[in-house]
Symmetry: C2
Subunit: 336 residues, 2 copies
């Protein structure tokens, strides 16, 4: 009889998490009840926001309980169903957790069209991270042709897509990422106009002035911290700062302080705005259609780093938090 | 022969300015050239933004040069004119500087209708500070009835007007100011729903929670610093933070650091935005008409603190920077 291997939250880390904060458990495969379907998970996503859920403190979502299956987007195939609207063979995506099987209801999942792109993209470029890039850039950043757009975390699941959509919008795109390999990828493969490695460049202000001589019109911020401090000092008149993530701050044992720079918003008549991708949910289908078309046309590329086996999800998550991944970090749980 | 007494910039202070940074000079009254008019100044305005102009660093405007007449809004009467569109007796307002007389051209001034309100209001509630309150609150803060609006610098020229306009919008208004006298004024005279003295209350977070149990929808920030840090921690979903001024930071010898709180913008889907009132210039007449009507109807009150004589402008400016004024700080230069 098959078992459902899953990863639960075992501890609440103060600083950087380690594998002891997670536990691999074996449970029986759930029996779908009335109105439920059983999904065999193919890919589980690991994302920075999960770090927030590990705290015992509500943010925009309640915290996870100790012993609960780790939250996370996943895509898989329906293998048994008690709902006529979910057929065996359907590919579905939802917050199914870090596990091999999940019992779901129709309203908890979104059906995925496997003819659009490989199904792994349902938790990547055509899923939450891609939607985050699309709506964050277009609806919050409001780029105009000719704008200079700076993206931090530029080689990650969100940043790599942001930069390419900004290019499609006719912007000049500058990326900030944490390795020379990433810099090579975003400039040579993805066509970013310029980029720098924040771990080897030390004078961020000078580098940004060099790469953005007319100032920065849109800053899509995934990281926060001292990179963002420097970008704020170089914003242009009427700049839009899209506050998407602050990954540099998530694993600090003690909260950092930083320069007070709100006056920049006055002198540049600029705006800093946060958003949650879920607020745009009703517009996902249109966005996914456009993104899928850009992929087919070769205008939007994506890279997936894939770890193998649910038992490696914690390691994949920790590596992602350390910035070791290129593009979207996934965990392959099964071949469906 | 009359002289034109004026105040020039004598030094560039590092921290808090003192009177030695200003010089009282006597010059001859300017002779208006072709197309110019001579204005006898009645009231000079002293405002926080002037501190920025004393630095040798461009902000949203170029710095003043040493030896130049201090910049500043002023209102006065045309006493001689070589432009038929400016008649002797006309009341005009413009950036005439800290002096007793100014030669001006038509495009440099705005005509003031003395039947609307006392002419001192042309540099106060019906001038730049009032317009700052009106457009900052309405166009940037976008208050809705039932919103909780917090105003820092709440007894000042801008904040006192912001709170009253927010009341007119149907908001619950909470002020933060720096003396019990100011707190009494804004709650008893101006009808703010609640207020606290940030110099005697020490636990800002708890006080804000008590006074704003549903969180803060709009924060109109004139001061920055630790008051603002606490407000940021209490913002409500989709809050708008209007960054108008950061007076707590202007006189620091060494720039402060503060907590990194940009994640709040994400988890609350909130926005922080700066603005300059001049960007709304073309809409001033409509706004001034509405504000004048509210004054006549008794819905909008204002207070002026008036120092006497141009020689006292530096002292009035320094007192204003120390928060000693209530409402708008002016300097009476003559009775026109």
């Amino acid at each position: 009889m098959p078992t459902n291997r899953r990863i639960t939250l075992a501890g609440r880390p103060e600083g950087f998490p380690d594998e002891s904060d997670f536990r691999l458990e074996e449970a029986s495969v759930p029996q779908p009840g009335p109105g439920e379907a059983l999904v065999r998970i193919a890919f589980v996503s690991v994302d920075p926001y999960m770090r927030g859920r590990m705290r015992n403190k509500a943010s925009y979502a309640p915290p996870m309980g100790l012993g609960e299956v780790m939250t996370g987007g996943a895509v898989g195939k329906v293998i048994e169903s008690n709902d006529p609207q979910l057929q065996a063979g359907d590919i579905v995506e939802g917050l199914l957790g870090w596990q091999e099987y999940a019992a779901v209801r129709l309203h908890e999942v979104r059906k995925v069209d496997p003819s659009l792109a490989p199904i792994s993209t349902a938790v990547g470029v055509l899923g939450m991270p891609g939607m985050t890039a699309y709506f964050g850039l277009l609806e919050v950043g409001k780029p105009k042709p000719g704008d200079t757009v700076v993206v931090s975390g530029a080689a990650g699941a969100v940043g790599s897509i942001v930069g390419q959509i900004a290019k499609i919008c006719g912007c000049r795109v500058v990326g900030v990422a944490g390795s020379d390999n990433k810099i090579g990828y975003i400039t040579r493969e993805l066509g970013f106009h310029a980029a720098f490695n924040y771990k080897t460049v030390t004078a961020y202000d000078g580098k940004l002035k060099e790469l953005c001589p007319d100032g920065i019109d849109v800053y899509f911020d995934n990281v926060g911290g001292s990179v963002s401090d420097a970008v704020w000092r170089q914003i242009a008149l009427r700049a839009r700062i899209v506050v998407c993530g602050q990954i540099s701050q998530y694993n600090l044992e003690k909260a950092e302080t930083g320069p007070r720079q709100l006056f920049q918003l006055i002198s540049k008549r600029a705006r800093a705005e946060g958003f949650l991708v879920g607020d745009f949910r009703q517009h996902y289908p249109e966005a996914m259609g456009r993104m899928a078309a850009w992929i087919r046309e070769g205008r939007l590329k994506y890279h997936e780093d894939i770890a193998e086996g649910i038992e490696n999800a914690p390691h994949a998550f920790l590596d992602m938090m350390r910035g070791k991944n290129l593009g979207k970090q996934l965990v392959r749980v099964s071949d469906v």
